[in-house]
């Protein structure tokens, strides 16, 4: 990806991003000043809003859940040398998959319905990624175009289905009926309550655990299995893969299926966990944030989890900010996110290079 600068792992995964985020906030602070608010108190509100309360934390992690899924999705494809911009569409289809199961099979008990729903979500996401993957592998159709197009197709499909087929008859809202309770992925606060631990309500649900599990699983798959080895080989050197007798076609398709499946899991959080019904645009851009998350996380599951939580903080903290400083609109939050991505994702060299020099005495010579 970028210049080979050697720094200790922890510096790469923690210190550099931290510095970058600080820098981003400094710049964002200027914008806040320009609007005539106090950057410091703004930052405090943002942080307190995101991490200061049980509810805030809940929201932060709830957002992070989506980003972990989409981030992992992008990363897996990336390791295979593919740039999957299709997370948005794949997640949308995941929603469809989840909804179909939750609506059609709602006679099933929760222990069966929820896993089935999740599987179906993943399956649909994967299916939506399959066609671009196959076209890339067999026909060489550039996956960036096809996945962009498939995002559009997915939204068209969803609108059609919700308006003409699956929607609640006689209702204005473009959404399905609410699922049966059995389809609900339990909220963390509900569970906690069962164990007599009262914690404030938030959309944070078990999908977060699923997301973490997926991150761990992806790490194992990528660095501890033959499949992962094959994927990384194809990504790093298609010629070496050919020499080794690893089929590029197979790997491309498999990697994209995994990628699409992960993206599809967003639905488990949004549709089965929080909304309990299928509705338009429920992905609200998670697919694109996933790109930034994956690259900021150096396509490493651990980095991705960190980056996801960072964005969770920005989203939730930003919401609180918009509440407490009415003059700061939701656009401010978008701006800050942009700055963070810029500094932590693209201008990280500003911090990594000096650090690298400090640590290894390398980094000269070019």
């Amino acid at each position: 990806m970028s210049a080979p600068i050697e720094v200790p792992r922890w510096v790469d995964l923690a210190l550099v991003p931290a510095l970058a985020v600080v820098a981003a906030f400094l710049v964002a602070g200027l914008v806040v000043l320009a609007i005539g608010e106090n950057p410091l108190s703004a930052t405090l509100i943002l942080l307190r809003g995101a991490l200061g309360s049980g509810e805030g934390l809940g929201f932060t992690l709830y957002y992070a859940t989506n980003f972990i899924f989409t981030g992992l999705a992008v990363a897996v494809a990336f390791h295979a040398g593919l740039f999957n911009i299709g997370g948005e569409g794949q997640a949308t289809l995941g929603g469809l998959g989840a909804a179909l199961v939750c609506l059609r099979l709602d006679f099933l008990p929760a222990w069966a319905l929820v896993p089935l729903g999740a599987l179906s979500a993943a399956a649909f996401g994967a299916a939506w990624a399959f066609i671009p993957a196959w076209l890339q592998a067999r026909r060489g159709s550039h996956i960036v175009i096809t996945t962009i197009m498939f995002n559009m197709l997915a939204s068209a499909l969803l609108v059609y289905l919700l308006v003409n087929v699956m929607g609640k008859p006689g209702s204005m809202s473009v959404e399905t009926r609410v699922f049966a309770p059995a389809a609900h992925v339990p909220f963390v606060h509900e569970l906690a309550a069962q164990f007599g631990v009262p914690i404030p309500a938030s959309p944070l649900n078990l999908s977060f655990v699923l997301a973490l599990a997926m991150a761990a699983l992806m790490w194992v798959v990528l660095w501890r299995t033959r499949l992962g080895y094959a994927i990384r080989t194809v990504g790093a050197s298609p010629t070496a893969a050919a020499y080794a007798g690893i089929s590029n076609t197979r790997v491309i398709v498999v990697a994209m299926l995994i990628s699409g499946g992960l993206a599809g899991l967003v639905a488990v959080n949004e549709i089965m966990g929080v909304q309990e019904r299928l509705l338009l645009e429920f992905t609200s851009g998670a697919g694109f944030i996933g790109i930034a998350v994956a690259l900021m996380g150096r396509s490493h599951p651990f980095g991705i989890v960190l980056a996801s939580i960072l964005f969770g903080v920005l989203y939730q903290g930003g919401t609180e900010l918009a509440f407490d400083m009415p003059s700061i609109t939701r656009d401010m939050v978008v701006t800050i996110s942009g700055l963070v991505i810029l500094f932590a994702g693209a201008l990280d060299g500003l911090f990594r290079r000096p650090l690298a020099a400090a640590f290894a005495g390398r980094g000269k010579g070019a």
């Binding site: 080979p4 076209l135 060489g140 401010m332 693209a346 060299g349 010579g365």
Partner: protein
Amino acid sequence: MDVFGFGIAIFDSGVRLAVPLLFACLAGLWSERSGVVDIGLEGKLLVAAFAAAAASHRFDSAWVGLAAGIAASIAFALVHGFAVISQRGNQIVSGVAINMLAAGLTALVGNAWYGQGGRTPPLEGAMRYQPLTLPGAEQAAAVPVVGRLYAYVVSGHSVLVYVAIAAVVATSFVLARTRFGLRLRAVGENPAAVDTAGISVTGLRYAAVVIAGVLCGMGGAYLSLDQAAAFLPLMTAGKGFIALAALIFAKWRAWPAFWTCLLFGLLDAVAIRLQGVVVPGVGQVPVQAIQALPYALTVILLAGFIGRAIPPRASGTPYVKER
């Protein structure tokens, strides 16, 4: 309206829809031919559209608007350049960041200035580009086919449309026939070769990125000063990404880029007119199906006819001598 006239109308609107794509697509072409991947086209279009609208409204001149749009777009292009050329940052991440920054800042500033959620007031009179009637268009309109083509398709667009086409000619000429073009083509394929030939890789890439800025600037200005005659937040509606697709579709070459964008524009124009058609047997085709048509067709064409598109070899990777 007769079939021919109908065809002309479609073509006319196809051209209008193609122009912003074309600007963005050429911008991407310059940038990526120099080895700098640019998925920030969308963002640059957006800031340009905003700056153009705002300036033109403030100074009551579309030309001032255009200048402002270009300036804003260049500014963002330079941010991208600094990040990926000087700092060797990740080009895709930088692009994503540019897009978000643009989305946020335009709305933020716009709201601060006009208090309408980032919208600018509608642009009137000198604030916007009016369609030009080329000499003799009226008379020509009487002449069948050729005359009408000239009158309705060739004539009757705003300056920027013709600029866009000029840009295609210029791009293909400069790339193919000039020193700068040769060096640019080379640096996108093998920067080390350019470096050892005694040419500054950094300089070339910055130049390319700035050109991309200029082109996006005009594209954005066309959106807000001509097509919509106002700025609305997120009004680019994904054009930057479609342009990216077009670029790959065109395999990073100028004239193919022109045809691809025109094709995309036409597909859109046709789809618009197909809404509500009744297919015998099937009955009325769902709107969504028709809205999806251009995208589906793009995929089919790509898979069917275009085949493998190999980007400039060095694109996406920063230039480092360290191995």
